[in-house]
Symmetry: C3
Subunit: 328 residues, 3 copies
């Protein structure tokens, strides 16, 4: 694995390997000696966090994932940074970053930029890996990975993701997290998807076609209550109001697409509720302490799967796997 | 000690312990081996500097204090950061930080936020310590600690802070440093305080009541010249013009509340002049090289007492104390 | 060497030593063990990058140079930072930085500030070295060093810089890189300089006088084509449009002062093309893969000569020289 630009590079084997590596890594991290071991893995590597689309959450997660492995970080987090490079092409900027660091983690408001950066490396002596930390509306692959890992972990005792009923609710049309998650869930046999959205916010046809092609079973509905008792997981998302063209989000009766105490009582005991965060009113804080609310756990999973991913890319995963007997 | 939100948690024993630890730490730091020892104490810990109220001075002091102990840092220093978390509650943001780091150091323009963050940890699995690096007008406890340490160090040969006459001058009404310092000075017997302020800028009644309750003796005056010969220390502060409602600061004749060559000659040989910095015209640079001007030393004390404080909170203080025989 | 403010401190011996140290350092850095050795040199040192004139390129280069040596960094990269220090003199700000770190790397839009900072250290107990990373139009010494190193490396097999014909082209009047490079090239015997510029953008008389004083031979022309076949190196620069007073840059026919496929075919096989980057249209990307185009290599040289320079200033160069037998 050199670059992580889209979810397409992840097949089932790679997903399983990555989830396993993540779990090993966090177990090693439970002791101070284990944490020191991790930090001695990549102390001479340097990463650049190039975030022209600000995202404190993803930035912190990536930066701390680097720090756990000892990787030093430099950052550009200023949305005005383009003006600093005024007159310089994107390609020249990326070449410059590649001159200084060993890993580029990038997030841009425009689609396709991470892919362009990765393509560029093919022509260079120093091929620096690129991780896409969100590029416009198209992809956010590390978010999809942490979602898979969270499902996998929570279904560990019940046979894993295969065969489970997983609902997605909210702004399915414009939320890139649910779109990427669907692409990854194709690799798990017999999962049944349920898309719950207000009219106008349904999952896009391209994703449905992709599920059809792989014979993934799904249903679409605007009635949460019908599915509450049967879902094993529900992935709730916020309205992507920043993409509104005429205030369409405000016209949705969000109470029908929200989870609070009234809804959770209809859910299975061992079901789980995920959310990519930040949340809006679609998840009421009153359920935060319910064990089924795993979105804070999910956030922390994001830290650890990024540690595992960076370890893979910078070729430290074998050392982690070999060391597990020493620390576990 | 988990959180440091106000000065209230510091009693005399804790203050003495912390001052002693600070002095041990900086002695260890005098040799390269000692510095390496310190940096090996907490290399696997990660801190977050969440500064929505920019303060380069406090930021640098905290960041470098972390670095001395090997703690890795992530930062938010953008006053516009609130917009990044638009639609997310402060509580959700703090939970997010707590998912990624082991220590939150925060500075906000609003009062009470550090306390809210600390309270929140009570409900969480991962209880991350919070250090208040300034929250609105209410508290700035680490500044008060470095002030105490500076007094303590300078009075080392003359029996410590107890029994000394300590003047505070300037904008006593609105300066949070003098307010916090008064609270800590209550723990030292027989200190005599002198508050020198222009009319309208006197120390607030709540602090006076607090001193009365503890039978701390104090005087109030607007005549610096009357006290110059008798004070052991004078803590000078700038006008907090940012809190002016009608340009009231500009109406003060600052020359009456300033120290320059003309004033310092009336002071005792072993008296000391402190200032939290940045300074305005209230301290003339012509006295900078006078040994009684200890404000630059005070700034550096701030670095070291923060090192000691972070070592305490992250449980490395015992290792420092045990190591002193090796390095001193 | 304490401070690096101008190119004046570099005589030929120092330049040769620094180039040699740079080459040794990057050879050591070729192996993981070598990289670890470098990073263990200065782990307890702390640097501050004070960039009130933003420059992502120079910032990244300096920050990563610090990281290679294990130096921890704090940064101010906000052009509005001056407002944070409102009411504080530049001298007080520098004293504050000096209280917290061991090295100040600074870049300012105004000339003379790095020199003022360095002068200030003379009066202080803690004399913190200052590296000028660009101060207004006057100097950018580390850029000149990396340019010398790039020439030196490329002329290694042909006897070094001495005796070579080196052209400089573009906005010679206002480009500080060519001005600084001229000052350093005086230390190399029998070099012949060619200044190619549009009318109104010629090299300034002060530099010409300085070359005359040292009997450095030079020619001035506005005809690139006359010199293409004879130059050993051409240093191309962009129009400094940010210094335009009446859009004068736009009136230049840039095609006459640019290098693309048509021009490069007239150059010697072993000639080299340098550019300080970012580039404008004066260098066509079509020549990027030609081995004579060394500007990306030059950028990476900048990283390594800064590593060597910081190692010198913080007194780790002897350790690097002693270690070379172990790693090479």
């Amino acid at each position: 694995m050199l670059h992580v630009i889209t979810t397409d590079i992840f097949d089932r084997t790679l997903l399983d390997d990555l989830c396993r590596l993540t779990t090993i890594t966090r177990r090693i991290a439970r002791t101070p000696d284990g944490l020191r071991f991790l930090q001695q893995l990549l102390p001479v590597r340097r990463a650049m966090l190039y975030f022209t689309q600000p995202s404190t959450r993803t930035y912190l997660s990536m930066n701390n994932a680097c720090h756990i492995l000892g990787v030093r970080t430099s950052e550009i987090r200023n949305p005005d940074v383009s003006s600093e490079f005024k007159g310089e092409t994107f390609e020249d900027s990326i070449r410059t970053f590649a001159a200084y660091v060993d890993l580029i983690i990038m997030r841009t408001p425009q689609p396709g930029y991470a892919a362009r950066a990765a393509d560029l490396m093919g022509d260079m002596n120093r091929r620096v890996p690129v991780i896409n930390a969100g590029s416009g509306k198209d992809q956010h692959p590390t978010q999809a990975l942490l979602d898979i890992y969270t499902l996998e972990r929570n279904f560990q005792k019940t046979g894993g993701i295969e065969g489970k009923t997983i609902a997605m609710m909210g702004d399915l049309k414009r939320g890139r997290t649910v779109r990427s998650l669907c692409r990854l869930l194709r690799h798990y046999k017999d999962t049944r998807l349920v898309f719950i959205a207000a009219p106008g916010f349904e999952m896009e046809p391209d994703i449905l076609a992709c599920l059809d092609a792989d014979k993934v079973s799904y249903e679409q509905s605007d009635r949460l209550e019908d599915f509450l008792p049967s879902v094993d997981a529900i992935y709730v998302t916020r309205m992507q109001t920043e993409h509104d063209t005429s205030g369409e989000s405000a016209r949705v009766d969000l109470s029908k697409y929200s989870i609070g105490a009234a809804q959770i009582e209809h859910m299975k005991k061992e079901a789980v509720i995920l959310h990519p965060l930040p949340r809006g009113p679609e998840i009421h804080p009153e359920i935060d302490s319910d064990p089924r609310a795993v979105y804070w756990q999910q956030e922390r999973n994001g830290l650890w799967i990024r540690v595992a991913l960076i370890a893979c890319i910078l070729e430290a995963s074998d050392q982690i796997i070999s060391a597990q007997s020493k620390f576990l």
